[in-house]
Symmetry: C2
Subunit: 151 residues, 2 copies
Amino acid sequence: MALYTATSLKSELNERGWRLTPQRETILQVFQNLPKAKHLSAEELYHLLQGEGENISLSTIYRTLKLMARMGILRELELAEGHKHYELNQPYPHHHHHLICVRCNKTIEFKNDSILKTGTKTAQKEGYHLLDCQLTIHAVCPTCQRALLPI
Amino acid sequence: MALYTATSLKSELNERGWRLTPQRETILQVFQNLPKAKHLSAEELYHLLQGEGENISLSTIYRTLKLMARMGILRELELAEGHKHYELNQPYPHHHHHLICVRCNKTIEFKNDSILKTGTKTAQKEGYHLLDCQLTIHAVCPTCQRALLPI
DNA sequence: TCTTTAATGAGAATGATACACAATCAATTC
DNA sequence: GAATTGATTGTGTATCATTCTCATTAAAGA
């Protein structure tokens, strides 16, 4: 959960015998320039890049997102749309969680410092190296509660 | 997050103009008789039922799992195997969370009462009706930390 | 018992993601 | 700074979980 620059990404990759490519650097930049509380799916990232004239293939996008999630650079969010979303994995005080309406998929972000502490402590106790920790609340929003019928 | 019997399931379904079918009752029973800390994927449930001579179609299984998750009877877990898992959504003191190794997918369950409190409070504050609340920790287990190379 | 319509089963369709492999190019070595 | 090595990319294809379609069946209420 650190802030990455192209340089620090490069050294972390090289440490493992891997490489910093223009594609990886570009994708990191996109996430760093994304408005707070904004997350992207693979497909959304692909089209966003296309719009900027950056032709990075879908395969590379999927590979890079997975790689960066496993490095702890990105968080992989399982919201409710049937595909994963990704966002920068930021430390306190930007770390946050998600409240999702299971009917309309509306998502609210919220912060709670004690959760990250709990996650850190739990991982530590088991000897795990923490990458990400997210509280996901599934619920029914006020609007959907009123619209009685459809589950 | 209540405990369900066939009868309470039936009345909750009927309230909405829906029906309790033998298939739904059977599936609820399977989860109720499952050992603690055990969860099932759709496919696993399908084969488990086959083994017991219960021929419930995969379609029905998928539909029922989704339905029960949206009713708050089951929790939908996004572990690391590329498909969802389901388990009974149990209240305190059985409520628990998951610590997952992103490399080998090993999963540990852990309890923490304050998280459910946080989730309840957060949902309430926003006027949401809580169904489930799970803290998911992504990390690297001790074994995979030692096996340096593969991410 | 009859009527209504939700639910099921079987198979086909969808769609997110992974894979295969030849071509490319980042990092390292000399 | 040219050569070498093997990680990475792009294209197309494959996979696999999940959803959909639709004819048939059967709960629930009258």
